[in-house]
Amino acid sequence: MGDKSENKKFSHCNFFSKNNRGLMNKSGQVTIFIIIAIIIVAAGILIYSFYPQIKTSLGVQQQNPPSFIQSCIENDIKDAVNNLSNQGGSIVPDNFILYNNSKVQFLCYTNEYYRPCLIQQPMLKQHIESEIEKQISTNVDACFASMKNSYIKQGYTVDLISGSKTVELLPKRIVSTFNYSLTLTKGEDVKKYNSFVVLLDNNLYELVAIANSILSWVTTYGNVDVTTYMTYYHDLKVEDKSLSNGKVYILTDRNTGNKFQFAIRSQVWPAGYAIPLT
């Protein structure tokens, strides 16, 4: 191995002598070495300056496990929340009305004319939490598997034990907790994580509370005046869109733009003369 290296060096020097560059070669070589040195230093500075971006683009970014999970699953949670918010809290609505190409779940429904509706989902908050859990469950497992592989590639011994996944709607945020146990070992270095929490800024908690209030009102009185809610809650926009077979209620937080829409069929008047049942 040492010989090979020396040979290389030798042939390298020969290259200049073979081309008869003479003494000029000596000063020229110095110049070239200086230029090379400058290039190396400049390259070093550039790499140092843009290291995080380079790391990211090469996919070798070193993240701690909680950050890895947060960045891996955050968009999935956002997508799930957006879907659920447009579809009345259900991933796959079964009793729905079409509005702006979204299937909006009926949360209060009657198939009869004149009568107030009957609540179809009395535990709306818990239902949405469970739907988000279901929607992200597969990807959560994939994220943990991906993280495990990433650390194995970095020379860690990884011990990952799957646990429960919970999603909770809380004021101004959605908290997803994954009780996975992770132990990373590299030589003497042992790092242990018992749960991972992913936070998402979102007002779904508040919007669901308003939705429950509207549902409660509608099931008792048949209809609701949406301006009442805008009078009480200054940052809230409430719209009701009448369609042929029900109404879609759209709740929007004016500050954050967070939205929740759901459908109700209540106290419907028949066209022309009535028949008692549809």
Binding site: F106, L118, I119, E239, P276
Partner: protein, 559 residues
């Protein structure tokens, strides 16, 4: 004979409806396109066979009886049936919400806010928001409760932080006492009613020219430490006293409630139509120099130029924040013409809808009353001190159903009972199956014609309304001598004519004796009644497409 048939169908129809109502089936869950819990259906095959069903209305079944579903985690109560509630892990009680102690509402004061909820919900909110709170069961209306928000007095909490710097935060006495217990701060003292910017506190916080929106929607000065100070008043930006003690502003001008777009005062009022907002490019500010970057933004819909009242909204007459009003639509957008007393033809055109428009937070939104005019928009206004007509509108039920039953104008136009108008009848009145000639001068018709709908198979729903206003006139026409012209002779004994052996000839239907307009004038008159009953007769629709005549002339040759 035809008349007899119509009567038969009508009474038979009522009979069948009675049978159907009595034989309703309650499905615990229905099947089909709209599977729903606890629905009454006509046809038992609509019930999902995996669930229970019974030939009885849902109200009288055990599994679909309405009770209260209690969410024991969140402390919320909502009317629900046992099946739905327990299927979603709720606790169901057959009692109504009002009679359940755990569902009694009270006032939950949490932090600076308040909410009208149950005690369990209050405890949950205190936990969710991670703030101190109390529950007051004696307050039993929401408005009183919300008005109690932020009841705790505040003051300057001066302390030495973990970096050994003396600093201050504006807080309540209790929060300051809690801070004293924390190891992260020392030398904690509370100065009730003082602002952190008070010079005498020597806490490193002072006056600034910055402002911020607070939770109540007011503009507040902010001190150099980032603490809220008093409400923004440009005349007091350098007033030591105003930066020392917590005090109310004295800057509200009488001619601008809520200080809309004010450059000088930050006492906003949501109910007067203003709320603290950050100033953005293009925002209008009244005369004066705005200090900081927040102001009481005018929430009125000043840029709206659609229908409003009896005119379009203008730069000087625009909807105020919180105002609601009515409009109708056409193929080109919202149209004017709908006022509380309006009954223009356009209101009754097939496809025409009535909307309730709403102005909130500077934005106009619309709400369709009902696509078949079973609900109509009703508006009223009050004149404000500045002469502005402030509209309030609602979608209300269109009470047209019993118009045709009314025989006097006073009963017909009793606005407390129905939405009908009295119109000239040309001697006809309703019989239940069509118009018959009785010689009366007027009849009662819907003020707002109900629209019809189509079912999924494109069949018209509600068209029976038209049947009530259908009319037939039998006329015997004769040709006299060698004339080719048909003429009407009154009181002819026709022998046999369409089943009637003798009758008084209805020459008025063809323009009178010795005349023949083919029933055109009579048809126009009858059409007026017919079109008023619904989307019936020859009618121009809401985008201006003309209808076509539906009158027919049938002839029976007796020669």
């Amino acid at each position: 004979m035809k008349r007899e048939k119509i009567f038969l169908v009508f009474f038979l129809g009522i009979f069948l409806i009675g049978i159907v109502s009595a034989s309703a089936t309650c499905c615990e869950k229905t099947t089909g396109a709209n599977p729903a819990w606890c629905q009454n259906v006509n046809d038992a095959t609509q019930c999902n066979s995996a669930f229970r069903s019974i030939s009885s209305p849902c109200e009288s079944t055990s599994f679909c009886k309405l009770g209260t579903c209690i969410n024991q985690q969140d402390g919320t109560c909502i009317p629900s049936t046992q099946t739905i509630c327990e299927g979603n892990n709720g606790f169901w009680s057959s009692s109504q919400q009002d009679s359940l102690p755990q569902c009694q509402l009270g006032c939950c004061l949490i932090g600076d806010g308040a909410s009208f909820v149950t005690q369990v919900a209050c405890n949950k909110q205190i936990s969710d928001y991670a703030v101190n709170g109390t529950f007051n069961a004696n307050i039993n209306d929401e408005q009183t409760c919300l008005a109690m928000a932020n009841p705790q007095s505040q003051g300057a909490c001066v302390y030495t932080d973990s970096n050994y710097q003396k600093t201050c935060s504006l807080t309540t006495k209790k929060d300051c006492q809690d801070k004293a217990k924390s190891s992260a701060s020392s030398n904690v003292t509370f100065h009730d009613g003082y602002l952190c910017s008070a010079q005498e506190l020597q806490d490193g916080c002072g006056k600034s020219t910055q402002t911020q929106c607070d939770d109540k929607g007011d503009v507040r000065f902010v001190d150099t430490c980032g603490n809220l100070a008093n409400i923004y008043d440009s005349s007091k930006v350098n007033d030591e006293n105003y930066w020392t003690h917590i005090q109310a502003p004295n800057c509200t001008p009488t001619n601008n409630p809520g200080n809309k777009d004010s450059a000088t005062c930050g006492a906003c009022d949501y109910y007067s139509g203003s709320m603290c907002k950050e100033k953005k490019a293009g925002d209008f500010i009244n005369a004066g120099t705005l200090i900081g970057n927040n102001f009481c933004k005018n929430l009125d819909c000043v840029d709206y130029r659609g229908p409003y009242g009896i005119n379009k909204s203008t730069a000087t007459n625009y909807p105020r924040h919180g105002e609601t009003w009515c409009a109708t639509d056409s193929g080109t957008g919202y149209q004017l013409g709908l006022t509380i007393s309006g009954t223009g033809d356009n209101l009754n055109a097939p496809g025409n809808n009535q909307f309730r428009l709403t102005c909130y937070n500077g934005e106009v939104t619309n709400s369709l009353c009902d696509s078949t005019r079973q609900e109509i928009c009703s508006e009223n206004y009050t004149t404000l001190n500045d002469s502005h007509k402030y509209y309030e509108a609602n979608c209300k039920a269109n009470l047209w159903q019993d118009c045709w039953n009314q025989t006097t104008q006073s009963d017909c136009e009793d606005i407390n009972s129905r939405d009908c108008v009295w119109m000239g009848s040309n001697g006809y009145s309703f019989s239940g199956s069509g118009l018959i000639k009785t010689g009366v001068s007027g009849l009662c018709v819907p003020k707002y014609s109900p629209g019809f709908d189509r079912d999924p198979s494109n069949q018209v729903l509600g068209g029976a309304s038209c049947q009530i206003a259908s009319s037939t006139c039998y006329v015997m026409m004769v040709k006299i001598g060698t004339s080719d012209k048909w003429t009407c002779k009154p009181n002819e004994d026709s022998g046999l004519f369409n089943g009637f052996k003798s009758f008084t000839n209805n020459c008025s239907c063809v323009g009178g004796e010795n005349n023949n307009d083919n029933g055109v004038a009579w048809g126009i008159q009858q059409n007026k009644i017919c079109t008023q009953m619904g989307d019936c007769g020859n009618k121009t629709n809401y985008i201006g497409s003309f209808g076509y005549p539906t009158s027919q002339i049938s002839t029976a040759d007796s020669s």
